[in-house]
């Protein structure tokens, strides 16, 4: 579904991604783990067209997308929940959800999708008129994921959804991700520092260090890998 081939992304003269290649198949959960500053978020932003790569190519369903604008890439069905959730702080919960469906014009379907979100997360319905910035971290994460789903993405990119959340909420968030993947057959690309949890729900995983992919394998193999255990699982 998504093929990233030898991309290199720069911030000014600094090369943040070095020859990164990875692939994601339809229906999978693939995770990208690595330490702070390894280039995980840059990888996602490169896929989304926010920081386009200088070299290499990105194919989505066989078509090159590395030169497309960010909004065009959303139209193709790639949506990102960025790190830190990025809720529109002064917009209500409802408006935040509506922004997720910004490119859609099927009003009735949007409304039923929003009702579905409220069914899944009753707390969001309770806070529907509340400003997004006043929600707790966990609620914001639910809102951010729901907002992305309102675009009906084929490929959902998640950047550190567990960041800054309480352990109990983290568990809940990972359950939600698994459920989204199971129920709506949405392909998920999950970037995480919480390697343990991420590998448990993922099919395959990549390990990133200093802007380059250093390991790739099936998730259960990575969980058992000594190197990964030592560096990321703290075992």
């Amino acid at each position: 579904m998504l093929e990233v081939r030898h991309i290199e992304t720069f911030y000014g003269n600094i090369r943040a991604l070095k020859n990164v290649s990875l692939s994601i198949n339809e229906g999978e959960i693939v995770t990208l783990i690595g330490a702070n500053g390894a280039g995980k978020s840059t990888t996602l932003m490169s896929i989304c067209g926010v920081t386009p790569p200088r070299h290499g190519e990105i194919l989505f369903r066989g078509e090159p997308i590395q030169a497309l604008s960010a909004e065009k890439i959303v139209t193709l069905g790639i949506c990102q929940v960025p790190e830190g959730r990025h809720i529109f702080p002064q917009m209500s919960v409802l408006e935040n959800l509506e922004m997720g469906a910004y490119l859609r014009h099927d009003k009735a379907a949007i409304k039923s999708d929003i009702d579905e979100v409220f069914g899944r997360f009753p707390i969001l319905e309770k806070r529907r008129q509340q400003a997004g910035g006043t929600l707790s971290g966990g609620e914001q994460q639910m809102l951010a994921i729901s907002r992305a789903l309102l675009a009906r993405p084929a490929l959902l990119l998640l950047d550190e959804p567990s960041l800054g959340l309480a352990p109990l909420i983290i568990k809940q968030i990972f359950e939600i991700i698994k459920k989204i993947n199971d129920e709506s057959n949405t392909t998920v690309f999950l970037v995480e520092q919480n390697a343990n949890q991420a590998l448990k729900i993922a099919d395959r995983g990549y390990v990133m260090e200093n802007g380059a992919i250093t390991l790739e394998d099936r998730a259960e193999n990575l969980l058992a890998n000594d190197q990964v255990k030592k560096a990321y699982l703290g075992i």
Binding site: A70, V74, F88, E95, E98
Partner: protein, 302 residues
């Protein structure tokens, strides 16, 4: 104390302030989205007044009069200024989108000086008499002391314009996109908003408001020249900062406060120091409330 006189001044201040507010909205909306003080905004206002002057002149010669002329002159001025605002952003600011913050600011000052001198060359550096387009309404006669017919038109038009702007920002697709872009530019792109288009739209809307203000004030003061944009621009910028730059209701409040402060100062102390009162108020507010009346102090995340 002479309450009648006070009331007279207050009415004058509100009329003046509502014009400031209309121009200040353009500053504040642009600042809210791209953190740029568009110093050429005053010139867009001046160009609006000039276009209206030309249209009004031609129409008066062809035998039309009064509100029809005003309306048509305003429509043409709005279209013309909107085109200027759009082009200005494309030429002077868009190429500098990712440059350090000082560059677009200098480009803005350059654009302002260029436009002012361009009008001076192409038209004239002298004052031109702007025709009185608002007739004396009979029903205004009893309260004319407080509010002239032209003032009434100004108040009605500014109120309607601001109401329309509120609806636009709150409920329309482009309005929501503007708010989203203002609150989080990266996320706006990630939900599929074409940020370039939103920025263009913001410049167009701001220019439309400025052109309306230009026509209204020209028909009230009765004269225009190429430099009116500079003074009006500085005053409106003051109003925007006063209310809290980037804050839309703040711009309206700032405009009104500024207009009232000016007329009160001029009426009770001396009209020679009108501008001094405006800027003294700005200094005072910036000392006591640096973020402006309605602005929130921004916490810098580290």
């Amino acid at each position: 104390m002479d309450f009648q006189y006070l009331f007279e001044l207050l009415c004058g201040g509100i009329v003046k302030g509502s014009i400031y507010a209309l121009i200040a909205l353009g500053y504040t909306m642009v600042y809210g989205i791209i953190q740029l003080i568009n110093f050429a905004h005053g010139e867009v206002y001046m160009i609006g007044a000039f276009v209206a002057f030309i249209v009004a002149g031609v129409m008066t010669l062809s035998g039309y009069s009064g509100l029809t002329v005003l309306l048509l002159a305003a429509v043409v001025a709005v279209i013309y200024s909107a085109a200027y605002g759009y082009t200005l952003e494309k030429i002077a600011y868009r190429p500098l989108r990712n440059a350090p913050r000082l560059s677009p600011l200098i480009s803005a000052i350059g654009a302002s000086i260029f436009l002012m001198n361009y009008v001076q060359l192409a038209q004239t550096p002298d004052f031109l008499p702007f025709p009185e387009l608002v007739p004396e309404f009979e029903f205004m006669a009893p309260i004319e002391r407080y509010l002239s017919s032209a003032d009434l038109v100004i108040l009605i038009v500014t109120t309607l314009t601001m109401a329309a702007l509120t609806v636009l920002i709150k409920y329309t697709r482009i309005g929501k996109a503007m708010r989203a872009t203002q609150q989080d530019l990266v996320m706006a792109r990630l939900v599929g908003i074409n940020v370039d288009r939103v920025i263009s739209a913001t410049f167009i809307i701001g220019s439309v408001l400025a052109a309306i203000a230009g026509v209204l004030i020209a028909s009230r003061t009765g004269q225009i020249n190429a430099a009116i944009g500079f003074v009006a621009g500085i005053k409106a910028f003051t109003a925007a900062v006063l209310g809290g730059i980037g804050n839309v209701p703040g711009a309206v409040l700032g405009g009104l406060v500024l207009g009232i402060a000016e007329t009160l100062g001029a009426g009770y102390i001396s009209s020679a120091y009108e501008d001094v009162f405006a800027f003294a108020l700005l200094v005072l507010i910036l000392i006591l409330r640096p973020a402006g009346l309605l602005g929130k102090a921004v916490k810098q995340k580290v």
